[in-house]
């Protein structure tokens, strides 16, 4: 797929989303306020009532920074809510139009997904500028220009991983009428096991060992640890490499599902 075509689709999707500006600002303000209130209230209560200064390797400012950064990076990784469009295209027969395109359907959808990220990226940067000075930067989680630079490719790869993780459940729409609940299930599991709700260091050791072998940590926790300066250069390279391997594995896995589904597709909608 040529880069110019890819960025043309990205541009179209961004413009589409930005046309609803009131929605854009309401979502941003409420999300930010609610998440900051809960984050601050919950963790100050836990630290006060437990009497501990360190929980799961984090002090209070550190875990607050983690909470803010995992929320902001998570918004970019999830990249809007395009996941259901694949199933909708199949269900309504709109997929036929994409099959006539000179590029593979998944590539077109990924370009659209990237277009959805641009407003989220803009919102996350704005929210970060507001939230981080309010919470105060932790001394145990130093955010530097280098960690920010390292986090950019990490988030990009995590975004691709999230897209591919959601693709196979969407392809199930070739066989089932409604797969909305499957997508929501993927979201629940990835949020918990990916570290979006809690740092994975708070999980019991045995669970942490299992999670080490699964792709979820690379979605939310790993990019957050990178930006907070908790990952050194060699760990970062290993992490990016592992994440790319998971992308490759999921991409390869999606091919036979697509081929079988494509054979079943009648193009008239269900």
């Amino acid at each position: 797929m040529s880069l110019s075509l890819f960025f043309h689709i990205v541009d179209l999707e961004t413009k589409k989303l930005m046309s609803y500006r009131v929605d854009f600002w309401i979502t941003m303000v409420v999300n930010l306020v609610v998440n900051l209130v809960i984050l601050w209230a919950l963790w100050t209560a836990i630290f006060a009532e437990s009497g501990s200064e360190i929980i799961g390797g984090w002090d209070l400012p550190g875990i607050l920074s983690y909470g803010v950064m995992v929320f902001l990076t998570g918004r970019i990784v999830r990249g809007g809510d395009l996941q259901m469009t694949v199933a909708t295209d199949i269900y309504e027969g709109a997929l036929s139009r994409f099959l006539l395109y000179p590029r593979h359907y998944a590539f077109t959808k990924y370009a659209q997904q990237v277009g959805n990220v641009v407003p989220d990226l803009f919102q996350s940067v704005l929210m970060g500028l507001v939230a981080l000075p309010l919470l105060g930067l932790s001394t145990t989680t130093p955010i530097t220009p280098l960690t920010v630079a390292m986090s950019i490719p990490t988030i990009l790869v995590a975004h691709l991983l999230f897209f591919l993780m959601g693709l196979i459940p969407q392809y199930i729409a070739f066989w089932a009428d409604n797969v909305w609940s499957l997508s929501v299930m993927v979201r629940f599991v990835t949020m918990l096991l990916g570290g979006a709700m809690l740092p994975l260091s708070l999980f019991p050791d045995s669970v942490q060992q299992i999670l080490h072998w699964l792709p979820f940590a690379y979605l939310f926790e790993f990019p957050t640890l990178v930006i907070l300066g908790k990952v050194d250069f060699s760990q970062w390279l290993t992490g990016i490499g592992t994440c790319l391997l998971w992308c490759l594995a999921l991409g390869v896995l999606s091919i036979p599902v697509w081929r079988r589904g494509d054979l079943r597709y009648t193009g008239v909608g269900i």
Partner: protein, 262 residues
Amino acid sequence: MMRYARLYLQFLKFSFSRALEYRMDFWFRIVMDCLFYAVELVFFTILYQHTNMIGGWDYDQVLIFVSGYLVIDAIHMTVFSNNMWWLPIYVNKGDLDYYIVRPVSSLFFLSLRDFAANSFLNLLIAGGILAWSILRYPGELGTENLIWFLFLMLNGSFIFYVLQMLFQIPVFWTHTNRGLLTAFFSANKLMERPDKIYSKWTRRILMTVFPALLVIALPARVLFDGPDPLLITHILGVTTIAFLGMRAFWNLGLRSYSSASS
């Protein structure tokens, strides 16, 4: 009243027969909600590995609080959720015409018409989790406390519905209410945490302006601390005001409705 009861019975019959048409979706949804319950319970279980109390509640109390929230969520998903989903579509397409000309309250019809039969099974599962969490509770929970708790939980489901409607009704004036709804679902997280973790002013706001704590946190307080008449009066008073406000807002919305593409 009997006319409305008979009408609701028809809604139930129709919803069950329709839900069984899409069997795979029927089971997917049940698994999805079970996963949601598991995630909520695991979240607090992990937190309690590192502390004994959160917001003045121990693990056994939080289990009842979370289970209560799951029941309220299941009631909402079963009774109201599908109807909330369709409302903006009806308004934008002009399909509301068919409902406002009927000889019954349009608010009743549009809020309760679609009963989610698959979520009803989840309601039974959530109810089971609540019963389990109450039965395993090591302390003494008085019968009077329990009755008030169950009553205030039903009241909490109703507030949940009223709050969502307040975020839905602006669709009469705006082209889309997607942003408002996203904001509502985001703000819902406030009700999923114990009330005592919030500061004094945040609690006041969450008990009046956006009464999220009335949904389950305060009913759970009544269960553990006993029925405080002042608190119960506050909960029921705010519920009444919120409902009357929502109904007035609905009527205002209907007056602005001008059929298709309004």
